[in-house]
Amino acid sequence: MTHDALTGGFSDAPTQSARAFRAILDALSRPGTIVTVTGATPPAPLSQAAGLVLLTLADGTTPVHLAGAADTPAVRDWITFHTGAPLVAAAQATFALGTWDALAPHDRFAIGTPEYPDRAATLIVELPSLSSRGPQLSGPGIRDRATLSLPETAAFKANHALFPLGFDCILTAGNRLAGLPRSTKVESA
């Protein structure tokens, strides 16, 4: 295990995780809203925001999948040390982390079952940047319309069509994040 694995976590978990959760909650309950977060310094290539989401939500009961370039020994050690989450293949993951392309094909993640739609994966999608320029969003959490710089529209449309099944996304870039639950309708701008 590298020395870096031991650093970059919460120094005061109860309050830092509480603030981080509120930011994530705000983002997921108001799709299109971009929030700024602090508190995690994960190893490259993870963004601060992606690291923070894992520190806040992952633990020994939530298998994590690392896709593509995110799957490095340093990242693995860091997640294992700070969260205890088992690292698994895509289909078993509660959380999956990587760039949008690395996460493809996106239909390999858990979408829940008709009786338990909550048993669906949350994808932590690393983006180079995050802005409110992009496809149109509508649905719960959104007054009229919102826009967000999504990497594409087709996959999100297909995911929304599965509602109440489907995966949910937390989009991360640097120290900013946005939420895109399966309930959001996505249309090209």
Binding site: A18, L57, E115, G139
Partner: protein, 291 residues
Amino acid sequence: MTDQSYNFAYLDEQTKRMIRRAILKGVAVPGYQVPFASREMPMPYGWGTGGVQVTAACLVPEDVLKVIDQGADDTTNAVSIRKFFQRTAGVATTEATAEATVIQTRHRIPEQALTAGQILVYQVPIPEPLRFLEPRETETRKMHSLEEYGLMHVKLYEDIARHGSIATAYAYPVRVEGRYVMDPSPIPKFDNPKLSDSPALQLFGAGREQRIYALPPFTRVVSLDFDDHPFDPSKAPHDCDLCGAAESYLDEVITDDAGSRMFVCSDTDFCRSRREAGHVGRLGETAGGGA
């Protein structure tokens, strides 16, 4: 002052993570009841353990918390829960709806319109709207998955056949975004319209029944009804006797042995702020004058 012998907001971090994950899935599937491993809290089941766990998982040190029961800030259980969070989370508290960032409630939605950024946490006794029609969880879960809500309509229709109108006055079932039928907790049906398109986030916690569900802001919530028997959010046909409000939900108070009655706002903060602003009801002048 925060009690140092317990973690911030009482719950341990692992429990909070579990609850937080359930809340996020609830937000992603509005109106769907997410099972969660409700913990045994230091207060009895049925007294708000679900709401308390949801509030505990949401609170940050900067929050301003309001707790109401039956609309009032000073009912004993509201006092008890507020004290619990003062002690374990050290958060500021308020009675003013507008000042609160998190409001935990039992049986009411505040009269004053909620705003973006506020979270309303409901205490829920029986989260399953179909429970009294079908007591088995294994059956109701199937009915939700198949969107099979005919039984509920039959029940409402039987009410109409027997009584001439729908005989449900509180915990009146709603449909969320055209998908899940949801129990709004035992709020009077008068409050139902406030569920829909609220700028605030609404979270529902049922501790004993181990369920969490959510209404994100601006979610479409429709009270079930029929074309020829539209939903009627009625209330007592009176004004508040203290502040004169015509559009607030009222408590009926028996004032003497002869059975005289008066009607007062159930939302104590709403009533107080109206009286402070100079509004006076039928009996309010005497009350305010201290005669």
